[in-house]
Assembly symmetry: C2
Homo-oligomer: 547 residues x 2
């Protein structure tokens, strides 16, 4: 063992010396590896009651049971433990002899003094660029369409540019398909060798770690954060689930770390989930799974945030917030296709402070103040439907008073079940929640993911029966984007019908109109079905809708 270690050490030093001398051509060293193969339970009990222990599965866990009752077992264990000759190593009082203690490292060489094991010791805030450089100019609500990840990508590019060795992007080979390829203007994919002439965007010093293994990426991200740096993991929404169990273990580590006074905070783990289930037009059912968020919400309410930015400026605000936040797990869910732009950067930032906002311009001042019904939404494609539903209601039932609530950060509604009302950290109360949802009006909630997320978030604070929650119901596969929404009943048709249904209970005029409206809208939906079957695309009149 000593020989092997010394040989390996000599090889390492030699490689280092050569590498430090010449910069090019790139050195391609073969690093030494020591392979040590030992029997399982080596040097433990060899045999016991006729079966082999050393080198067999019997040496796992408890190799010899019941020494209290079984004198054979006691003797065997005694013999085994005595084989280590502890008396040669300790004095009569059980203290290690001086010939042992002299090998214990002193001062900064002690293992507990390794500052690198505590990333917080090295934590440096990111240098963040001014968001105004990337902001989409929104002069009229919903008037222009943009691809949110494409628009926000230059911000990530500039974070890479300004933060040297303090930031990395981790991605399972999807940067381009998630529309973040702007990062390659300033860096490349990390890759050692061989690099061929025809390869593109590969370099040993690249800041982007791409490998088609979410497990490896999650491991890298954890290590990178815990040694004091910052990182962003980008994934298809449906495939982040693959590492749920690893994220759970990281969260368990964080929970322990909070309780250790000398551990300083580290940067947050940031996940950007793009290529979301609502736009898997070609990939279909297998690529629809919004439950990474569910897993995070269920367990880690105390120190997780889940962002559903409705447009580019909200996405920029989410990036900024998560990159400043420490000791957290942050998930940002953002689509990559054309979407209406709602908020100016100023408005988006203002909402980001609370993660939830009442958009008065949607229903108008009076309706927002005293609504018949509250409409809420979280998610970009889903917010588009919610607002178009309001537009449709204005046409069909202008007397229906609607308050619209936008949720851009999900734990803002309340803080999950971990924060009970008796928890001093909790800012959520029934009263606080009702400030947005009123005391007693019906609420229609259009949600990006599984409706269970909303149910258990709201459970401690509201009575369930006034809420009608729409969300992903595992309907639809390879179909048009609008049909996905129809199949899952999150389309503006469905939301409008639900709003009118609930409004009719408070308003006689709406009650009178209701049957005819329902008939018309249901007919619309049936016609839409026939249309897509005939043309393989959805009607131009729906594509043409603008707020």
């Amino acid at each position: 063992m000593i020989k092997a270690t010394e040989k390996a050490y000599r090889i390492i030093r030699d490689i280092q010396k050569r590498a430090r001398k010449r910069k090019t051509p790139l050195l391609k060293p073969k690093w030494p590896v020591i392979l040590l193969r030992t029997p399982k339970g080596w040097k433990g009990v060899h045999k016991y009651h006729g079966h082999l222990v050393e080198g067999s599965f019997h040496s796992h866990g408890i190799p010899v049971e019941h020494p209290k009752k079984d004198p054979d077992a006691l003797e065997t264990i005694e013999k085994w433990l005595k084989s280590y000759k502890i008396e040669e190593l300790v004095d009569e009082k059980g203290r290690p002899k001086e010939e042992i203690t002299k090998f214990i490292p002193k001062g900064k060489y002690r293992i507990g003094m390794n500052r690198h094991a505590i990333g917080g010791n090295f934590y440096k805030p990111l240098k963040l660029p001014a968001l105004s450089k990337y902001a989409v100019k929104v002069s009229k609500f919903g008037s222009i369409f943009k691809k949110n990840t494409t628009e926000a990508a230059p911000m990530i590019r500039d974070v890479i540019k300004h933060n040297g060795k303090n930031f990395r992007v981790f991605c399972p080979d999807e940067i381009e398909s998630n529309k973040l390829d702007a990062v390659f203007e300033v860096t490349k994919r990390a890759y050692q060798w061989p690099i061929k002439k025809t390869d593109e965007d590969l370099a040993p010093e690249g800041r982007v770690m791409e490998i088609l293994s979410e497990h490896t990426l999650q491991g890298w991200l954890m290590g990178y954060l815990l040694t004091g740096r910052h990182g962003l993991l980008i994934s298809y929404e449906a495939f982040a689930n693959i590492v749920n169990s690893m994220v759970d273990q990281y969260a368990k580590f964080l929970k322990q770390h909070f309780d250790v006074s000398w551990r300083k905070p580290v940067a947050s783990a940031i996940y950007l989930l793009s290529s979301v289930g609502w736009r898997q037009d070609h990939n279909g059912f297998s690529h629809q799974n919004p439950s990474f968020v569910s897993n995070i919400l269920q367990k880690h309410g105390e120190f997780c945030q889940v962002y559903y930015p409705s447009d580019t400026n909200s996405l920029l605000a989410a990036f900024e917030e998560t990159m400043k936040k420490k000791d957290s797990i942050c998930v940002i869910v953002a689509g990559k296709r054309d979407l209406p732009q709602w908020l100016t950067l100023k408005e988006a930032r203002e909402q980001a402070k609370k993660g939830i906002g009442i958009w008065e311009w949607v229903g108008g001042k009076e309706a927002t103040k005293n609504p018949d019904v509250v409409l809420a939404s979280a998610g970009d494609y889903i917010t588009q439907e919610a607002l178009y539903a309001v537009k449709l209601c204005k046409l069909l039932t202008p007397e229906l008073k609607i308050r619209y609530v936008n949720i851009s950060e999900l734990t803002s509604i309340c803080l999950g079940d971990f924060f009970r009302s008796d928890d001093p950290r909790s800012s959520a109360t029934e009263k606080g929640v009702n400030k947005y949802f009123t005391e007693d009006r019906p609420v229609v909630f259009n949600y990006h993911g599984y409706i269970n997320d909303i149910e258990h978030i709201l459970w401690p604070y509201v009575t369930s029966d006034r809420f009608s929650i729409h969300g992903y119901r595992e309907k639809g596969s390879t179909t048009t984007p609008f049909d996905m929404k129809v199949a899952n009943e999150v389309s503006f048709y469905h939301i409008a019908m639900d709003l009118i249904e609930r409004g009719a209970k408070f308003n006689k005029s709406i009650a009178r109109k209701k049957p005819a409206i329902m008939k018309t809208l249901n007919k619309k939906i049936r016609e839409h079905q026939k249309y897509i079957e005939k043309y393989g695309d959805y009607p131009e009149e729906i594509k043409a809708i603008r707020w």
Copy 2:
């Protein structure tokens, strides 16, 4: 390619011939493998606009974009597609030429005729043994203690024995530590070679597939079920999560299969989760994670069942039910340590019909009929606490009328959100749910897993504010079993306090006693804390409690 295929075929035939001639010694053939390495996008577009497409990442997805707008792209794509010389293969009407069609297999050789691809064609029910052979004799509720998985293991053993090649057990190397080693009385672990003299329970014909890779096991189980056989996957509760994403994809497959009329049902995927979080005394926090169930419940309510047998006889009834059930995903959660036995086999089977039962003997006839408060529980260790809480209440507040509801199959409460009240398959209604939980009494619910599971199951049917749900709150690590329950507030102390708290609202006598009782019980909990810190074990008086 033809040469390689023919060579491989000859080798396979030769191995088969030799194997069929001699039975021993065991043949150890080297099966042929054809390795074909090709450039990515081989024979596609070679180069486009100066960059390599063939053999590079550009050939992934859309190799050449915008042929509608870009004449270069159109020309490139045309040249590429023409390179396949389709005109040599089809006639002027686009029909394949006879020289092609003659190679299409006929009759039973057509790929769609491969009956093995549809497991339902081969489905044979399992031969199930009479449960009475394994039943625990329960003469008095809760009087004896048994290890539930140990007691039920002989049933699994006999299922293996009686079902030849129709059943397998899949396990990540934990059969023994989950206390199911009785199966090795009739079979071994499947293993080819080399088998050493000192190896135990290994054989090529073994029916138990053990490998420390949950992913591999899940893949094997899926293949085994879909080719018409039956299987049981056994895992530590916390580690089943590793394959959540694979189980989701299997569930997605099942959902499609339901819609295909000629696909016949297959056996259910059965998961036994043992070594549960409540008894990870030595492994601690990293081994506590009851969310495999959460993931199943959230998405697959239509065709999943989640069993929480409270004792051995209930576990036997769950095994029997799941082994008969088709086309489902069944999860059974059962501890492996000593637990009180509540039900006779007859009672357990009776309850299994509905998955939920009112245990009149707990609160007594009168209290059960007109309770002040309802107590419900799901889970074995958790049910023990719930019933001991009733015992404590009987001592402290005998006037408190308690109805006890035991939930042995979780989807029995209602059927998850997939079954809305307007779904014809749904049997769950507010009225149906209230039959157990009353119309308006407070309900204290003691639950094995994350409380969110119960919240979203109940959301559509009840008003949330009369429910008080206890469950795993990620508290505690390596500690005593009872302290785990104290830390998570599921202990009989906590449940009793909650019952009395709620009962006090309806009963003046209880309200008067309440302050003194709360003081006493909180003191008990503090003393318990001191005791375990001093002795490293929990008090004998708690260990000695019997119903």
